[in-house]
């Protein structure tokens, strides 16, 4: 019994440390310099994307290679609303999320005609179409894109340091929101069904989980978050362009590597993967193409050795989930 008590104490200490880290991150604008804040802003944005891809691929069995579609839609919707339609920027942000959701509904209606392996490439085709259309929209600078006008940028802060802190706070809030609500979602009735689907889809269906409805809810759940990440990306780059806003490398390929290596089908996996990704990038970014070759090789190795990634290996060693989505037996 003492062993178990020690174990629970260890878990409690780990969780306490995590809460302390989150509180420290909340105080980021006062603790970190501008470069660190910019890096963390990027970190939170990728984390949101990783959480969403993991929810779809790891739980709902929707393997998308076209996640960048909704990032781009969010970016373009924000530009259209804030710049072209002159909507107040803090109203334009939730409206961009809503627009992404509205685009996701017909997209889903079309590509959900394809299943599993076919759906993966179907999402990619949808993303290509949206990127090509974005390049044709009038007012968005065509194929080369356009910059955010200075008044819109200044609305987020008169000084550079003020803006960096605003973007940091926004991305931190979004990451916290994405993690928190997804955790609650996974612990809800629908989420229980999702966890059952993750473990055995046929059995979940037989036990009464509505597979189609659950997939629809999941797909639509991720859309506004991806759209909001698109807004943050636009604010970091200060411009929209089809190739950058709909970047498959940045918003899909890296994300898949992050989740696969960190651990697909858990909430901890995307967090670990994103941290590793940034650490690796610090060392390997200078090698350019080799970086992607290594990421590809590592992810293949991970799938062969431990399909559930680093967190899957941790679970195997008996480490309990830090953010458990399952319900333990009632005491």
């Amino acid at each position: 019994m003492t062993g178990r008590n020690q174990f629970m104490t260890g878990l409690a200490i780990t969780r306490f440390a995590l809460v302390a880290i989150i509180l420290a991150l909340a105080a980021g604008p006062w603790l970190f310099d501008l470069n660190q804040q910019t890096l963390l802003t990027e970190f939170f944005t990728l984390l949101v994307l990783a959480l969403m891809w993991n929810l779809l691929a790891g739980y709902a069995d929707i393997i998308t290679v076209g996640q960048h579609a909704f990032v781009g839609v969010g970016a373009y919707a924000f530009y259209g609303l804030a710049v072209l339609a002159d909507v107040d920027i803090f109203l334009a942000i939730p409206m961009a999320a809503l627009t992404t959701l509205l685009v996701a509904i017909p997209t889903m209606a079309i590509i959900f005609r394809l299943r599993t392996a076919y759906l993966a490439v179907g999402t990619w085709v949808a993303a290509e179409v949206m990127m090509l259309i974005a390049g044709k929209l009038p007012g968005f600078g065509g194929g080369s894109g356009t910059s955010l006008p200075i008044p819109v940028v200044k609305a987020f802060g008169a000084t550079l340091s003020g803006r960096v802190s605003t973007f940091y706070a926004m991305s931190f809030a979004l990451a916290l929101l994405a993690f928190g609500t997804t955790w609650i979602f996974l612990r809800s009735r629908v989420g229980l069904g999702l966890t059952a689907m993750r473990d055995n889809e046929e059995a979940a269906g037989a036990a009464g989980v509505d597979l189609v409805m659950t997939r629809i809810v999941c797909f639509l759940w991720t859309a506004p978050f991806l759209g909001l990440a698109g807004v943050l990306v636009t604010l970091q780059k200060l411009r929209v362009a089809p190739s950058a806003s709909f970047s498959i490398t940045d918003w899909t390929i890296y994300i898949i590597f992050i989740v696969v290596i960190g651990g697909i089908g858990s909430l901890e996996g995307p967090v670990i993967g994103t941290i590793l990704f940034f650490l690796l990038r610090g060392y390997l970014a200078a090698y350019g193409t080799w970086y992607l070759i290594i990421l590809g090789a590592v992810s293949i190795g991970v799938i062969l050795a431990e399909p559930r990634g680093i967190w899957g290996a941790c679970r195997r060693w008996g480490i309990p989930d830090l953010a458990p989505a399952s319900h333990g037996p009632k005491p």
């Binding site: 005609r113 599993t116 392996a117 990619w124 044709k136 194929g143 390929i253």
Partner: protein, 288 residues
Amino acid sequence: MTIDMLNQAIQGALIGGLYALFAVGLSLSLGVIRFINIAHGDLIVLASFLLMSLSGLLGLSPFVVALFMLPLAFAAGYWLQRLLLQRVVGESVLPVILVTFGLSIMIQNGLLQAYGPDTHKLHGGQIEVASVHMFGLFDIGFFPLAVFFTAIVVIAALDILLYRTSIGARIRAVADDPAAADLIGLSSGRMYAIAMGVVGMTVMLAASCMSVWTNFDPAIGPSRLLTAFEAVVLGGLGSLWGTLVGGMVLGIAQNLGAQMDASWQILAQHLIFLLVLVLRPRGLFPKA
């Protein structure tokens, strides 16, 4: 004007032959092993670069090199399946998609590292410039006709292989029910590997035609995958002849789109695909 459009439509239909060559291999791996090879387009590009290096080195036409390379392409497909893909083939499609996805990124960046980002095109010799004058109206290139004919021959050969030979019967048995096939002594792993070997040969043929017909660079693999995928779905899942029709539909859509505006070429291709998906989700010639 209408003559011009008709001409474009005919040229587009002929490109369909090239697209069918992209698509038959994908159709085979989807139909038999039931996985989608995300790296399919990148393998075609990889084969194109190999042809470029070898035909440059040996001073031979890329078509001749491709024919000599066919056994090697079979072996490459066979061992890719045996050593890597077989380990992740199973109930869930997720691991296979992720492994081929990783492979795709490695091939793209490996080629970028080895050959640089420039575009290339191979020379096929006289056949490229020769043309046939038809109905007193259009000039049809001899090379597109030859590629279209190659596609027909490849599809007919695959049809015979799958439906008229004992190895084809075994492959189909494994495709229908791998567990039952294993029970009666057919090794599903071996059949899958043979199927992937055949896929490898179609990839080599597709590469020889593509590298002479169009420009290629290390990054175009994904767009070849999407074209192949759309041809497979349009034609009707599992239908080899359907991929030829699917390819032709895509080619015609591309050329008519380009007639409106050059930038509409690819968009028209994708839109026609989505339209057919909405109207006929099971494709134009669904099998059973």
